[in-house]
């Protein structure tokens, strides 16, 4: 398999996101539809059921740098959340979060959002006390 260059890879992800082919539990799109570099993205995660996140919608910002997808994107929660892998003051997902640390070229923004959602639902995390809904970092 040859390497799909960054921009064409991001266009593929954009189309998948726009057409809603992805799972319902997360979504993502360009933050600025005029940005020809496709660097800044918005994402949302629907809080997993049977957890303190149930029925909440979390928004995040995702930054795909020039080396994406060889390097992972930078992901920051905009909605306040209490999760060990998230910096409690900035909302940034720590680079040692397993999906970022073990980043592979085949991973997408969707992989990342779904893994974060799984992280919210782990036995250790699902009952963590959460900030009031609607607060932002």
């Amino acid at each position: 398999m040859s390497k799909v260059p960054r921009n064409f890879r991001l266009l593929e992800e954009l189309e998948k996101g726009e057409k809603g082919f992805g799972p319902e539990s997360c979504s993502y799109g360009l933050a600025d539809s005029d940005d020809i570099t496709m660097t800044k993205w918005n994402g949302t995660i629907l809080g997993p059921p049977h957890s303190n996140h149930e029925n909440r919608i979390y928004s995040l910002s995702i930054e795909c740098g020039p080396n994406y997808p060889d390097s992972p994107p930078k992901v920051t929660f905009i909605s306040k959340i209490n999760l060990p892998c998230v910096n409690p003051t900035t909302g940034e997902v720590q680079t040692d979060f397993h999906t970022l640390r073990g980043w592979k070229r085949a991973y997408t923004m969707e992989t990342l959002l779904l893994d974060l959602r799984k992280e919210m639902a782990t036995p250790a995390n699902k009952k963590l006390r959460q900030p009031k809904e609607g607060e932002t970092f």
Partner: protein, 153 residues
């Protein structure tokens, strides 16, 4: 990485040895399926005197599947959207494996010379083009000055 099909090698060599006037296409050293492209705006079009940058990628299935092409330079054109995506039949349903990088780039140059607002990708631009062609062309000329590289005299 799988080796490069002979056809791609031949096409690349020919693009260098026998370039198309007004068009350049060079593969990146680290990805020989990924080309850096420039197209000169056709004369007597609003894109005249501008040099537009594009990127082109030959997917694994090429030539059974069309190359992927996108403008990197902002351009005001009814068939090119804000992200530089191009609405052109030969890149989609009318692709044929007998077409090549060269013919695709020539088709894009022809699209600059004759926009087709009735088959739009950028809807707002197409609307502008149909309602007020003179104004739309003036805006296209303005964007060419603003964003495209200037053609050397």
């Amino acid at each position: 990485m799988a080796s490069l099909p002979k056809r791609i090698i031949k096409e690349t060599e020919k693009l260098v040895s026998d370039p198309v006037p007004g068009i350049t296409a060079e593969p990146h050293d680290d990805n020989l399926r990924y080309f850096q492209v420039t197209i000169e705006g056709p004369e007597q079009s609003p894109y005249e005197d501008g040099i537009f940058e594009l990127e082109l990628y030959l997917p694994d299935d090429y030539p059974m599947e069309a190359p992927k092409v996108r403008f990197l330079t902002k351009i005001y054109h009814p068939n090119i959207d804000r992200l530089g995506r191009i609405c052109l039949d030969v890149l989609k349903t009318n692709w044929s494996p007998a077409l090549q990088i060269r013919t695709v780039l020539l088709s894009i140059q022809a699209l600059l010379a004759s926009p087709n607002p009735n088959d739009p990708l950028a809807n707002d631009v197409a609307e502008d083009w149909i309602k007020n062609e003179v104004g739309a062309k003036a805006k296209a000329r303005e964007w060419t000055k603003l964003y495209a590289k200037k053609k050397p005299e």
